[in-house]
């Protein structure tokens, strides 16, 4: 990797001063950034280590919800009783991330702001992997790539497992920058880059993500991840749902898809399909089908359409305690 300056401030204010754009990177658990630096995919001139800042680490729950510091590790998140009880969709998604070793290092902030794992991007072809005007992804091996929004050039998938339930749960992220603080819905951390110069993240160089607040909820919520291996592996498709029940029926629903588009994708079609319905195999299957109505797979990933359908169906049923696939 390229040699760099290193700073390890102990306060957010000091960190902000050190985070001079454009060639500075925040370092949390390092499980993403360091790999990119070793592979020369990212070569910051200064690295600002955020994990010495105690204020970023806390997880606090109140009647309004739970506030999760950007520096909280995934392991800490998993140990938090309130999260496991009230936000099983978030707990489960975090539980299925990588390995215990990585979860001990990886932070919530780093997870949300990690860069795509697209193997063309990681091989140094740029985020959009365009070569001579052609998409390497489209022409090449796209088995793990997007099946939604594939008319554009951004064919990678958003890698964050946590973003998916957080969006379903209506969480908001707080960002601190030279110009002050702003709070945005987690979904707005992401965008589809329009050109090679644009990042897929809306957080600007020089800004720090400080916390994520998940509102209090009575919603039944769950996540389902389809993946190849049992041990550490990336989701091939991930769905999180949050359902406000109206008696036996679903009042309002949030359905969010991960690992299938360049951003975590809300599926309004699936939401509509399930709202006003009693939740059962038939309605869950219909919602899964609705979720993939607009899918346009690439040359090698049609199988992900099926996986997305099933992920939505299973997340919905899991939310009401039906895990039929575990019964055989």
């Amino acid at each position: 990797m390229k040699a760099f300056d290193y700073a390890a401030p102990t306060s957010v204010a000091d960190a902000l001063k050190l985070m001079e754009p454009p060639h500075t990177a925040a370092l949390s658990g390092g499980t993403d950034l360091i790999n990119r630096m070793k592979d020369y995919v990212s070569s910051p001139e200064r690295v600002v280590y955020l994990k010495d800042i105690d204020a970023l680490e806390s997880i606090e729950s109140s009647s309004k919800g739970v506030s999760i510091g950007a520096g909280a590790t995934l392991a800490a998140l998993l140990e938090h009783g309130e999260i496991k009880k009230t936000y099983p969709s978030l707990w489960k998604a975090a539980y299925e991330v990588a390995t215990p070793q990585i979860r001990n290092m990886a932070t919530v902030g780093g997870n949300l702001l990690q860069r795509p794992r697209c193997w063309y991007y990681r091989a140094g072809n740029g985020l959009l992997a365009l070569k001579d005007g052609k998409s390497l992804v489209r022409e090449g091996d796209n088995r793990f790539h997007a099946i939604f929004m594939t008319d554009g050039d951004a064919l990678f998938v958003n890698p964050s497992s946590l973003a998916v339930p957080l969006i379903a749960l209506g969480a908001k992220a707080t960002i601190l920058g030279p110009k002050g603080e702003r709070t945005v819905p987690v979904a707005e951390l992401y965008r589809v880059p329009k050109g090679s110069q644009e990042r897929e993240l809306t957080v600007q160089h020089g800004e720090i993500l400080t916390k994520v607040v998940v509102p209090a909820t009575h919603a039944k919520n769950a996540s389902y991840e389809a993946r190849h291996k049992q041990a550490h592996d990336w989701p091939l498709a991930l769905a999180s749902v949050a359902l406000e029940m109206d008696g036996q029926k679903v009042g309002s629903a949030r359905v969010v898809l991960g690992a299938v588009a360049p951003v975590p994708l809300r599926s309004e079609a699936a939401e509509k399909a399930i709202e006003g319905k009693a939740l059962n195999h038939e309605s869950a299957t219909a919602a899964g089908d609705a979720a993939v109505k607009d899918a346009k797979p690439l040359s090698m990933n049609a199988y992900k359409v099926q996986l997305t359908k099933v992920a939505v169906k299973r997340a919905l049923l899991a939310a009401v305690g039906d895990r039929y696939w575990e019964e055989g």
């Binding site: 040699a3 390995t99 794992r117 193997w119 063309y120 091989a123 072809n125 070569k131 052609k134 390497l136 022409e139 090449g140 091996d141 088995r143 793990f144 389809a226 993946r227 190849h228 291996k229 049992q230 041990a231 550490h232 592996d233 990336w234 091939l236 090698m300 990933n301 049609a302 199988y303 099926q306 996986l307 099933v310 039929y324 696939w325 019964e327 055989g328």
Partner: protein, 723 residues
């Protein structure tokens, strides 16, 4: 005549590895851990292109970088680079970081040429040539009997195309060595190798010195699987750099990406197979057209037909060259591919006939399938062995209760299935290896040989044999291997280490014991014939008389040292084996979970039951990876490997490992054959058995390995006519 003891105390028991604690605790120094005083770090510059010519190379800037002590250019101006990962130059510097920076400062001007990195690209008529003379070398078909005619008369015929991808060895310790030159006349190297002797020979060759002036040390090492026989260009260059740098040690070990790219792989295999049988399930003919790629090195051929008796067969294989790293031997070269394709076709045939898969296998074993017995000239028929093994395996997997015909595995979304596959291997010994055994006056015992332990337990096995003969504990023996200057030892390939090394070890210990008895008998006022050794005691006429240590003191100043040679009757060759798999397939997600594997394996006389079982477990886990996960993914456009890591190059983690039941098929008849190697056979049938279990579960063949959600869902979709 040398013979294995009839009533052994140690042989056949479970003895933990002598170096197990050191390895598990991190105390053991692997070759890549060794850093002699003054070590320089070497880093390889390799080709980023799949096909290119070096137009020019300029190392001037790199040479001036901080810490740089030497650069050797491997591919100079005009040299062809045939795959991503092909070596260009190596830089030695004071630190690894400095060497990495300097590698990036070497300026290479490439003429980038068109490439083909996949078989389909390479087989295209308009494909650029990987080598002059064409990308596809098709060998003439090997024909036995009259396959076409026989197939026409067959009652049932199945036809299918099956394929297995290229996989890589993924040795946990990468390839490499640290070399230290003493002027131009001597070299010491700490090498991660499965053949200290071969590495010594290669280093000697490139320095034009005698192999006796080269010392290659491999105390322990972290996996080779067939890919670590030589010094490689990296190792030879490390030695050259050491010489250039005034004798400072130079350490060159590959990184993970280079391991995948340049350090070997198992070739792919695709087979278009027609297999016919009569109504009763007896095979009548097979016609197979196959191809595979060993990258730029070839070697993709594999045995087919495999195991079963076919009176009529035709087999044509084509070697396809691609611009990708060259194949190297990998744990039972060729057999896993041949086994997977044969067993898949046979299972599809059984399904079509509505026949039980175990039954069809028994039915198609050759009447006589002779392999070597215990002595030259003696034979053993493998067919009844296979039958007994299948019976045992079927019992252990619960075949009778659990087996349901293909596609009849329940109504839920998760289907269970069972599968079975058979394999065979050689595993015999070389007859020219030696072991020395030294008994010292202080009671210590040391054996020496220029072999090495690639994980099979060689060190422990040799100590056990010696301890058996001398009435000591294995931990009493200094088992000294992994040094090329010791008496000639076997290279660890072809499952030959234990069968090659056990006989001379037994001979050395037996000779040393005889010499010892002769020496101490007078001091004990008895004849040598009255002496025996047991429990660390010297026994006279069956009575414990003196401790081993005290007896050794009677040797005075002189140690006893004997060198043992190979003798017939102590080892043999030719094994069979079978494996059963039970899987669960989620038909909605295509996710396969292996629940249980049963592995039955013969290998003659087993020395250490514990390391023997470890070999089988390891073989099964390797086979499970081949069956479920592994695949080298090449990008057709840029010509590079897309998953040169351990993340998207998928390998099982602990939670992917099923219950594994290992059973030795070790009858008296087998024991009498003597020692046979076991490193390779137990990895052959696993991927085949898993795929058959998947087909059994979901009612449709998944023709492409690995059994990934993508391949399984695609097969299910094609069954429903959606493909």
């Amino acid at each position: 005549m040398a013979a294995w003891p009839k009533e052994p105390r140690l042989i056949g028991t479970k003895v933990p590895r002598l170096d197990g604690l050191a390895k598990a605790s991190g105390k053991a120094k692997y070759p890549s851990d060794v850093r002699p005083e003054g070590t320089l770090f070497g880093v390889v510059l390799y080709s980023p292109h799949a096909n290119a010519t070096v137009k020019s190379i300029d190392t001037a800037a790199a040479e001036k970088m901080p810490g740089v002590k030497g650069i050797v250019v491997i591919a100079g101006q005009g040299k062809k680079l045939r795959f991503q990962g092909d070596d260009i130059a190596i830089v030695a510097a004071e630190t690894e970081e400095q060497a990495r920076d300097a590698v990036r400062a070497i300026k290479v001007d490439y003429e980038v040429l068109p490439h083909c990195v996949t078989e389909s690209q390479s087989m295209d008529e308009k494909a650029p040539q990987v080598f002059d003379g064409g990308n596809v070398r098709k060998a003439r078909a090997i024909v036995k009997g009259k396959p076409e005619e026989a197939l026409e008369k067959a009652d049932v015929v199945v036809e299918g195309t099956y394929s297995l991808p290229v996989i890589t060895h993924v040795c946990l310790e990468p390839h490499g060595l640290t070399a230290q030159a003493e002027g131009s006349s001597k070299i010491t190297a700490w090498a991660s190798t499965q053949a200290v002797t071969v590495v010594a020979g290669e280093l000697a060759g490139s320095f034009n010195i005698s192999p006796a002036d080269v010392t290659v040390l491999t105390e322990v090492m972290g996996g080779g699987f067939g890919s670590k026989f030589g010094a490689d260009i990296w190792g030879r260059t490390a030695a050259e750099l050491s010489k250039k740098c005034g004798g400072r040690p130079v350490k060159v070990f590959l990184d993970r990406a280079q391991e995948h790219l340049a350090a070997g792989n198992r070739p792919s295999a695709t087979g278009h197979v027609k297999l016919g049988a009569s109504k009763d399930g007896k095979l009548v003919a097979m016609i197979a057209e196959t191809y595979g790629t060993g990258g730029v090195r070839g070697g993709s051929n594999f045995p087919l037909p495999y195991v079963y008796d076919l009176k009529n067969s035709s087999r044509a294989h084509a070697e396809v060259s691609v611009n990708a790293g060259g194949a190297r031997a990998m744990r039972a070269p060729g057999h896993p591919q041949g086994c997977a394709i044969m067993e898949a076709a046979l299972d599809d045939l059984a399904a079509k006939l509505g026949m039980d898969p175990v039954e069809i296998r028994v039915k198609n074993l050759a009447e006589v399938d002779n392999v070597r017995g215990g002595r030259q000239g003696e034979t053993i028929n493998r067919t009844p062995m296979y039958e007994a093994q299948l019976k045992l395996g079927a019992e252990l997997i619960g075949w009778r209760d659990k087996y349901k015909p293909r596609g009849e595995n329940g109504k839920g979304v998760v289907k269970r299935g069972l599968g079975v596959a058979l394999h065979q291997w050689g595993g015999g010994g070389a007859a020219d290896k030696q072991v020395s055994c030294t008994i010292n006056p202080d009671g210590s015992v040391e054996i020496k040989s220029a072999t090495q332990d690639i994980g099979t337990g060689a060190r422990t096995i040799l100590a056990m044999i010696t301890a058996e003969v001398l009435g000591l504990k294995p931990t009493d023996i200094k088992s000294n291997i992994g040094n090329s200057t010791f008496p000639p030892g076997q290279s660890s390939g072809g499952s030959t280490t234990t069968p090659s090394m056990s006989p001379p070890c037994l001979a050395a210990a037996t000779q040393a014991r005889a010499a010892f008895f002769n020496k101490i008998a007078p001091a004990l006022s008895t004849d040598a014939e009255t002496l025996s050794l047991k429990d660390g005691q010297v026994w006279v006429n069956g009575e414990p008389t003196m401790s081993w240590k005290d007896a050794c003191r009677k040797l005075g100043m002189a140690s006893i040292s004997e060198t043992g040679k190979f003798a017939d009757g102590l080892s043999s060759v030719g094994v069979g084996g079978c494996q059963f798999a039970e899987v669960e397939v989620d038909t909605e997600t295509g996710v396969v979970r292996v629940k249980k594997i049963v592995a039955i394996q013969d290998s003659g006389l087993i020395i250490d039951k514990l390391t023997w079982e470890s070999q089988v477990y390891g073989g099964v886990i390797g086979g499970l990876n081949y069956g479920l996960f592994e695949e080298r993914v090449m990008d057709p456009t840029t010509g590079v490997m897309l998953n040169p890591d351990m993340e998207l190059y998928k390998l099982a983690g602990a939670s992917d490992i099923p219950e594994i039941i290992v059973r030795a098929y070790e009858t008296e008849e087998m024991k009498n054959r003597g020692v046979i190697g076991v490193g390779e056979p137990p990895t052959i049938a696993t991927a085949a058995a898993i795929a058959n279990a998947v087909a059994n579960a979901i009612g449709v063949r998944v023709p492409d390995w690995p059994m990934s959600p993508r391949n399984v869902l695609n097969a299910l979709a094609s069954k429903e006519g959606k493909a």
